[in-house]
Amino acid sequence: MDDSLVIETKDLRKRYGERIVAVDRLTMQVRRGEVYGFLGPNGAGKTTTLRMLLGLIRPTSGSARVLGAPPCRPEGLARIGALIETPAFYPFLSGRDNLRVLAGHSGAPESRIADVLEEVELADRAGDKFGSYSLGMKQRLGVAAALLKDPELLILDEPTNGMDAAGMAEMRTFIRSLGRGRRTVLLSSHLMAEVEQICDRVGVIHGGALVGEGTVDELRGRETLWLRVEPLSGAQRLLADFNGIEDVATVDGGLRVATDPSAAAAINRALVEAGIEVSELRPQRASLEHVFLELTAAGNGEA
C-alpha cells in the first residue's frame, strides 16, 4: 500500500442475501492529510462502507486496508477515531463517564477526556446523563469520543445530523480545523453544502458504487459563460466559428459557451456587432448539486 494512502479499497462488495447489494465493487483511495467527503443519498451504501472499513462488518468480497492494516486489527483501530451513524452511548452514564468507559477500552489517557469535552464545547453538560442530551449534544459527544485517541484518521458519519443551523456551521468549522495538519478525515454526508465547504476531495457514491471522484473543483468542471441572446440560433451559429470557443450548447433558454471566461468582452462585442441582442452574459460553473444529480442520474441509467 502506498504510504500516502490512508484508506484503500479494491472492489469492495457487501451483499445481503441474494438480492441486496449494499456496496458494489467500491474502489476508493483516501490520501494522508486530506478531508475526504463521501457523498451520497441516504441508502447509497456510505455507512455500510464505513462499517467495513472499521471491521464491524465483513465484506462479501474485495479488500480494504486502513492505515496499512486490514480493518478490525486493534493496532489499526488504535489510530482511528470514528462516529458511525447515531452516536450510541450508555444512557445511564454521564457524558464524561461514557468517555471514561471508552478511554478504558481504547487505552487513551483519562486526561484526554476533559480536553475533548472542551473541544466539542460539552464541558458544561459533561456531568449530565447521556439520556438527557439533545440530538446535537449527542452528536458532539460522538465526535468527542472519536477524538479521544487523538487519532490519525477520523471517520465521521453524518456528524451534523440533528443539529440546528448554528450548530452545523460550528461543527463544519470544527471538522475543517480537525483536518488541518497530519490528520486525515473521512466525512460521510448527504449534504452537498457540507461536503463542498469542508472537503478537499469528494467521492460520490450511488447504489453502492463510486460514480465520481475528485476535488470539488474537478467535479464541478471548468467555468463557462452563459448568455441570454436574441436570436438564439444566429448567436449559436456565430459563436460556433468563434476563435477559442470549444463548445456551444443550449441550456436553460440561453447558450452555454465553453471557453475561457476572459473572452467574455470579445464575445459580447462580436455578438453586438452582428446585430444580436445580448441581455445577459455571466460566468457559470456547475454546482456540486448539479454534478451530483447528473452523476446519480447516470448511475440510475437516466443520462
Binding site: 464491524l56 450510541a88 481504547s106
Partner: protein, 280 residues
C-alpha cells in the same frame, strides 16, 4: 486489559439493573430460605408434621448448605438475567459498535466483560450468604438454639459452589444475549429453558426412564448435585415449585466438571458468534 475490566466493573456498578437484581435475589432468597420456613416451623411446631422445615436447617450450623439449595434454580435465573443484560443490552443501545471501534479486539472486549461479570457474581453470593448467616443467627437466638457455625472450609466450598452455579447460568445468559442480539428474547428463552425444558423433563424423568441419562447432564441436576456436596439437603429440592428436582443426583465431582464444561461451552459459542457476525 486491566483498564478494560475496570471500566466494565464500573459499568456494572452504575447500572440500576445490577442493584435491582441483587436486591430482589437477596430479599427473595432470605424470604424463601428463612422467613417462610421459619413461619412454617412456628406454625407447625405443635404438629411437627411432614413437610415442615426442621429447626436444625434454620440455625447457623446448617446455613451454608441450606442457603445453597436456592442457587441451582432460583439464583440461576437471576444470574441468567444478569448475563443477558451484560451483553444483550450492548446490542439494544448500539454501544457494541461504539466499543468495538475504539480499539479492543472482539474477544478482548468479551474477555473484559466476562471477567467483570464473574467478579460481579461474587457479591451476589456473598450478600446472600451474609444475610442468610444473620438470619440463621437471629432464628437461633430467638429459639434459644445452640449457635454453632459450620467450618470455614465448608462455607468456602459452599460459596465457590454457589458462584460456579451462578456463573454457569450467567454464561447461558451471555450466549443467549449475543445470539439474539438483545435482551427480551434472550431472557424469555432462558427462563423458558429453565422452567419448561429442564423443569418438565426433570419432572417426567421419574416416569420415563429414557429421560434419566439426559437429565443427568442438565444444569439443574448438576447444580443440585454440587450443592448436595456442601450440605444442601436433597429434600430441599423436592416439591411442586418451578425449581423442584427429585433426582437423579450425580457425584459432586461430576457435577463440578459438567458445570465447568457448560461454562466453557457457552463462552466458546459466545466468542465464536461475536467474532464471526457483523455488528450493525
Amino acid at each position: 486489559m486491566r483498564r478494560s475490566v475496570a471500566v466494565e466493573l464500573f459499568l456494572l456498578r452504575k447500572r440500576a439493573s445490577t442493584w435491582i437484581l441483587l436486591g430482589i435475589w437477596t430479599t427473595l432468597a432470605t424470604f424463601f430460605s428463612y422467613v417462610l420456613p421459619y413461619v412454617d416451623y412456628r406454625n407447625g411446631e405443635a404438629s411437627a408434621g411432614p413437610g415442615v422445615v426442621p429447626l436444625e436447617d434454620l440455625v447457623p450450623h446448617s446455613f451454608a448448605g441450606h442457603l445453597s439449595e436456592g442457587f441451582p434454580f432460583f439464583g440461576g435465573v437471576f444470574a441468567l438475567m444478569l448475563g443477558v443484560l451484560a451483553l444483550g443490552s450492548e446490542y439494544g443501545w448500539g454501544t457494541l459498535r461504539t466499543l468495538l471501534v475504539q480499539r479492543p479486539g472482539r474477544l478482548r472486549m468479551l474477555g473484559a466483560k466476562l471477567l467483570a461479570l464473574g467478579a460481579a457474581l461474587v457479591p451476589f453470593v456473598l450478600t446472600v450468604f451474609a444475610v442468610g448467616a444473620v438470619s440463621s443467627y437471629a432464628i437461633a437466638r430467638g429459639e434459644g438454639a445452640e449457635i454453632d457455625w459450620p467450618s470455614a472450609w465448608l462455607v468456602l466450598r459452599a460459596l465457590a459452589a454457589g458462584w460456579l452455579i451462578l456463573a454457569a447460568w450467567a454464561a447461558l445468559g451471555v450466549v443467549l444475549g449475543v445470539l439474539s442480539r438483545g435482551t427480551s428474547l434472550a431472557i424469555g428463552v432462558g427462563i423458558l429453558y429453565a422452567l419448561v425444558v429442564e423443569g418438565l423433563i426433570s419432572a417426567f424423568a421419574d416416569q420415563v426412564s429414557l429421560l434419566q441419562p439426559l437429565v443427568q447432564f442438565f444444569l439443574r441436576a448438576n447444580a443440585y448435585s454440587l450443592v448436595a456436596g456442601v450440605g444442601a439437603t436433597t429434600s430441599g429440592a423436592t416439591g411442586n415449585g418451578p425449581g423442584a428436582f427429585e433426582g437423579p443426583y450425580v457425584a459432586p465431582e461430576q457435577a463440578l466438571l459438567v458445570l465447568v464444561a457448560y461454562i466453557a461451552g457457552f463462552l466458546v459459542l459466545t466468542g465464536f458468534a461475536l467474532r464471526r457476525r457483523d455488528v450493525t
